[in-house]
């Protein structure tokens, strides 16, 4: 019984609403109540995939390009990691604030940066439900 129940609620590897339109950074901000700290010019960029982690060592292992990085770590090396891994959008969660160094690096590297008060789980859940896919 338990197995059947698990099967019924498990959405599988693909996001449940796979036919939903592709979200933009603007949509993500609206959906999660996040505040943009840098990157007005990137608001219409599509957000198709996401990865959530506080461990930059794990982020550097991801083979996908151009996804949103959801992280509770507010440190300049988060932006450096995003730059090296071709990540165009960093969404800080758990009410973490971007430091001036992070904003300056995001400008240099052309990375959109936003802050959300929600937890990582909450933010990830909202994006997953809206059709943003996992990186693999």
């Amino acid at each position: 019984m338990l197995q059947d129940k698990t099967k019924a609620i498990h959405p599988g590897p693909v996001a449940p609403e796979s036919n939903s339109p592709v979200l933009t950074i603007r949509d993500v901000l609206e959906l999660t109540g996040a505040k943009l700290v840098y990157g007005e010019e990137y608001l219409d960029k599509p957000v198709r995939k996401a990865f959530a982690s506080d461990l930059m060592s794990d982020v550097l292992q991801v083979e996908a390009n151009d996804f949103v990085l959801i992280t509770g770590l507010a440190h300049p090396q988060v932006i450096r990691t995003a730059e090296m891994a071709d990540i165009g959008f960093v969404l800080l969660v758990r009410n973490k604030k971007a430091t001036p160094e992070m904003i300056s690096l995001a400008k240099q590297a052309g990375i959109a940066l936003a802050e959300s008060k929600n937890s990582m789980y909450h933010t990830s859940g909202l994006l997953f439900k809206a059709g943003v896919r996992p990186v693999s």
Binding site: D54, L55, M56, S57, D58, V59, L60, Q61, N65, T71, L73, H75, P76, Q77, V78, R80, T81, E83, M84, A85, D86, E101, Q108, A109
Partner: protein, 141 residues
């Protein structure tokens, strides 16, 4: 076409860590190198640069680009690696709590450099330093 770039890296300076990798990535883009190769170079160099900041006292990064390959050479003065084979194992790390708080030190760096390079050679002497050579070929070998 032969280009050489040189940078110095300061141990413990986590604010500027990644500067060399960032500059190299920009230059490779200007040289119209394939984006997939650029990402592999950027990731491998950044991991190696962060290793100097996390473990060594200071070091240098030398990048040689020619028509055949990109050679990254990182040389540091520092504690060295007593057992390179052990250090290569995923999950093995001697990083400090400060390094871990910054999202590194999970023991994934060296294996990720290997994954993101065509050739990796590490030589080290305890209490002297470490030399890391990373080769990326621009064309299929």
């Amino acid at each position: 076409m032969a280009v050489q770039l040189k940078f110095t890296v300061q141990g413990g300076d986590f604010t500027n860590a990644g500067f060399a990798s960032s500059q190299v990535k920009k230059i490779l883009k200007q040289l119209n190198i394939d984006n997939r190769i650029i990402k592999r170079v950027a990731i491998s160099l950044y991991e190696a640069e962060v290793n100097i900041v996390a473990h060594a006292w200071n070091g240098t990064v030398t990048v040689d680009i020619d028509e055949e390959k990109i050679r990254l050479f990182l040389s540091d003065r520092g504690p060295g690696i007593p057992d390179i084979e052990l250090a290569m194992q995923e999950g093995y790390s001697t990083a400090s709590p400060v390094v871990r708080e910054m999202g590194f030190g999970a023991g994934m760096g060296l294996s990720n450099i290997k994954k993101n390079s065509d050739k990796l050679t590490i030589t080290s002497e305890v209490n002297q330093g470490t030399e890391v050579e990373i080769i990326h070929y621009l064309h299929a070998q």
